[in-house]
Symmetry: C2
Subunit: 149 residues, 2 copies
DNA sequence: TCAGTTTAGTTGAACTCTCAAGTTCTTGGG
DNA sequence: CCCAAGAACTTGAGAGTTCAACTAAACTGA
C-alpha cells in the first residue's frame, strides 16, 4: 500500500536532511556567536530593511520570512526589547500593527551581514558549480510551487 | 571587501531557505499530529531500528542523526519516559551508554512510517523529476563533503 | 442594526534545543 | 603506580518555537 522510497530517493532524502541541517546549524551558530541573534531574527531584520520605509504589517512580515504569526509576535517582542524594532499602531485598521526597523536595528544588521554572507558562501556556494546553483534554484522552486492549504 | 551574493545566488539562497523550512515544518507538523513526536525523535527511532540488535552507543547515535550529544541525551530521556527506548550500561567501558529500541518503540515507528513517507513524497519527490532527484543528491553531497572542524 | 463570522495579533504553557558546566571513567606518560 | 588529560555522557538554565486559547476590531448579510 505505502509507496516506500526507492534507493535513489532514500539516498537523496537522507543527504538533503543532513545537508539542510548542517547549513541551518552553521548559520545559526555563526550569527549567534558573532551577532547575538538566531538566524530567524536576522531574517526579520533583513526583510524589514528591504521594505518601503523599513516597516511592514506583522502578517506581511510573517509571510515574508515563512513564520507563523505567533512566532513572529514573540520574535518582535524580543527585537523590541533590544531596541532594534519598534511596533506602531495602524490608524486605518486598528487590528493591525506595523513593525518598523530602528536605526539601531539597521546598524546591527549592517554589522552582521558580511559575516553572514561569508558563512553562506562557505557552507553552500563555495561548494557548488554555477550549474548546480541553477539546479538548486529550480528544485526549490518546484518544492515551493503551487502549495495548497 | 565582502563578496556579496549575485542575483542568481541570492535567488537560489532564498529559495533554498524557504523550501527547506517548508519541508521541515511540514514533516514536523505531520509527525507531531499523527504520531506525537517531533521529526528529530523519529530520526532517532529510525536510526536505532537499523542498528544491529537495535541498539547503539549514544555518541554513535548522535553522529548518525546529526545531533549534539546534549540534544540526544535530552531526546533519549524523553523517549525513555514514553517507553520507546531503554538505556543500558556498557560493561566494557563504563562511561558508555547504549540506547536500545524497545518493542513498543518499534511498534510506534512501524505505525508512524507510512504517514511520514507519504509526507516526504508529497512535499519533495512528487514535485521533482528523477533527474532533479539525482541533482539534489549531488548538491547535498557537495555540501556535506570534506567538512572540517 | 446587530449578531455571527472572519481577520489581526497577542499570550502563556509545554516542549525542544543550545550552551556551559559538571560527573564519571579511561588512558598515557613520567 | 599515579596523576593529568581527554572522552562519554548528563544536567540545568536560558532561549526560541509551537499550539491552543484569547482579545479586539472589522466585515457581512438578513
Amino acid at each position: 500500500m505505502t509507496r516506500w522510497l526507492d534507493d535513489d530517493e532514500q539516498h537523496a532524502w537522507r543527504s538533503f536532511l543532513a545537508a539542510s541541517q548542517v547549513i541551518q546549524e552553521e548559520l545559526d551558530r555563526q550569527l549567534q556567536r558573532d551577532s547575538g541573534m538566531p538566524h530567524a531574527y536576522y531574517a526579520v531584520l533583513v526583510r524589514l530593511s528591504e521594505a518601503p520605509e523599513r516597516r511592514m504589517r506583522m502578517s506581511e512580515l510573517a509571510a515574508g520570512v515563512n513564520s507563523s504569526q505567533s512566532r513572529l509576535s514573540h520574535a518582535i517582542a524580543r527585537l523590541e526589547e533590544r531596541g532594534w524594532v519598534r511596533r506602531l499602531p495602524c490608524p486605518a485598521d486598528r487590528r493591525v500593527s506595523w513593525a518598523s526597523l530602528t536605526d539601531a536595528g539597521h546598524d546591527v544588521l549592517a554589522a552582521a551581514a558580511p559575516g553572514h554572507v561569508e558563512a553562506v558562501r562557505r557552507c553552500l556556494f563555495d561548494r557548488l558549480t554555477p550549474e548546480q546553483t541553477g539546479q538548486l534554484a529550480a528544485i526549490c522552486a518546484a518544492v515551493l510551487g503551487e502549495r495548497r492549504s
